[in-house]
Structure formats: C-alpha cells, structure tokens
Subunit: 199 residues, 2 copies
C-alpha cells in the first residue's frame, strides 16, 4: 500500500538563514508567508508537522518530554475544535515547567497521564495521528462501524516540541504513514495509557 508521507525532517545550522526574510514578509508573530527556497528551512519543516496535525480526522496521541512550541499548540487547538480525540502523556517535571503547553491543554480538557515515578524520565518525542487501534476504539465508542477513509501518521524523532528544538538545535523528526511503525507506536501509547491510569 502506498505511503502518503515517508520522510525525515532535519533541523540544522542552515534552517535559520532565511528567518529574517520570513519575518520581513509576514509579521513577527506570523512570519510564514512566502515560498522559501532554503531546502533546510526550519519553518517549513515545522509547517509540515503542523499540516499533518491539521489533517487529523479522529485521534491524536501525543507522548512528549517537553512541549512549548506555540505553532503546534495552536494546531492541537484547531484539532480539538474539529472534535478530534486528543490524549497526552508527558513527563511530570516538564509538564509543570513555565512555558509548557501540556497543562494548558489539560485545562482545555485534553486528558493527561504520566508515569507515577519521577525516577525515570518520560523521554519520548512522538505523536500518532489516526492510529488504527485508536480509530477502531473511537468507532466502537461511537457505535459507528465505517470510518471515513483515513491514514495513520507517525511523527517521531530526537526533537522535542520546543522552539530550541525546531530552530536552533541539530535534530531529526521522521514523519511517516508506514503502517508497521505507526502501529507499534500506537500500541506502546495504549499500553502506557492503561499503565498510568490513576485508580
């Protein structure tokens, strides 16, 4: 079966060279308005992730160590407004850090879980969109048998969802609709989600 998306986004020292031009073309808070020719452009890489979130139909399961990036926070908000089921797993310590979007999303009603021990870090940086097992679960809850056509997407790499991660560090982020990888990540998310349930 064809994979809709299957590529690695890299963030490196060449990702920022077009940044001033982005700012001059847009506004400081929304600097993304021209077709950038920099093939390493960090803003365009980030935009690819935003677009995948914007295309989510049923579910977004986010498991992330640090999440401070405003662009992705806004995309998750738009998904919430569309009625997409969103769940979050995060690190206790990082969830409470000052710029974290994790508690903000929890306040908007996104269920949040994490490991009970603070000894081990929740170091994942992944997100599964429309994972098969999760969509089937949602279909079951809604007593709906036939979902609209959808395709699972996995977003996973070294990069946290932070400004420094996307613009500043050397990082990678694989975006793929490979079924095996998306399934395995969805399965581990589901396992953790059950394991972290407060009884």
């Amino acid at each position: 079966r064809r994979r809709r998306v299957h590529e690695v986004l890299f963030f490196n020292e060449l990702g920022e060279i077009c940044y001033k031009e982005h700012q001059s073309q847009g506004t400081q808070s929304a600097p993304k308005t021209f077709e950038c020719k920099n093939k390493h452009c960090s803003l365009r890489q980030l935009e690819k992730i935003t677009m995948l979130i914007d295309e989510a139909q049923y579910s977004i399961d986010i498991c992330i160590y640090t999440f401070t990036c405003t662009d992705l926070f806004l995309a998750i908000n738009r998904a919430l407004d569309r009625g997409v089921s969103i769940r979050m797993i995060s690190d206790h310590e990082m969830a409470y850090s000052s710029k974290s979007k994790v508690l903000k999303l929890a306040n908007l009603g996104v269920p949040l879980r994490g490991p009970f021990t603070t000894k081990s870090m929740m170091h994942h940086k992944f997100c599964v969109i429309d994972g098969v097992a999760r969509v089937q679960e949602i279909m079951g809850l809604k007593k709906c048998k036939w979902p609209r056509p959808y395709e699972s997407v996995l977003i996973s790499g070294s990069v946290n969802w932070t400004y420094n991660g996307f613009v500043g560090n050397f990082e990678n982020c694989t975006i793929t609709s490979d079924e095996i990888l998306a399934c395995q990540f969805q399965e581990e998310f589901n396992r953790m989600w059950k394991a972290f349930l407060v009884k």
Copy 2:
C-alpha cells in the same frame, strides 16, 4: 525489496523486571545468558542494537548527543577490529563529560567532529550502518568496484546511548533497513561531516 529489520524497540517500566534474574544467571558484568521471556526486556532490546553493530560490514556513522553505554562501546570496538570505517559526530559539551565513550573512541582513532558553535545542541541520537552513499565512498577509496552484498540499517529514536536511556527511562529506538530513511539519515550525516570540517 524485503527489509531485513523494521521494528521499534521500546524501553519502559517493564524492561527491568527480569534484571535480577539476568544477573543471577550470568555475572554482574555480563548478565545476559538466558532466554528471557519478558517481552519488554531492556537487555534484549539493547542486545538487538549490539547485534546490528556486530553485523556491520563497511561503515558505522554515529551521531549522538550522549554515549556512555559500555555494551555499545565494546561492539564499536569489535567493529573497529574488523576494519569497519567508523565516524562520530557528537555534542562538544557531552563528549567531554566524565563517562563519555566519545573521546575514548577518538583516542582509538575514530574520527570525531561536531558543530563549531556551542549555542546549538547536537541532539541527534542516530547511527547508520552500511549506508549506501558511505559504502560507495569507501569502495571508491579502496578502488574496489563490487562490494559484498550488504544492507543499510538505521538506528534512531529518543534514546541516547546511555545506561539510563536503555534501562530506566521511557524511550524508543527504531531499527530499520528501510532504504529511504537510512539514505536520508546518511545524507544528513555526510552533510554535517563536511560542514564540521576544521580547515
């Protein structure tokens, strides 16, 4: 084309429950001697990575933020002894940290490069084994036209090559011979390798 390996290794709270048994079956320093039935066993997950390094034929390109894990250090040493070409890219700060294996490998002759600025973190955690572009480069240098059959493997995820990463944290590590992913990581490694050359 068939992919030899294509799976995600997860490290979680269930990975350690068999650890004492491993120690009692082996020695403290080499605790891996029985067929473990724990499907989340961290030691077996780590062993899968070790085996991929042990099967490297031509090249290993490592790009890693922190590397302190002794098992993987020993596997890289064995690869060096087999004549495998090894290169490392690491973070300046972390390379000099006390338990880091990065400078140890540099002292054994493994070429090491990193970004010139300390402003941005080298946050990658990946390794490409027998990447096509690198094998072809090595073949060119050796004036050898026909390499033995080989298959590229990518190792990449949230996990650093540290004890805490493999046994303690919640982490993922994708191991795959997917050609597209392995190629893209090899290409970014080669790009960085040139960019970080001290002139």
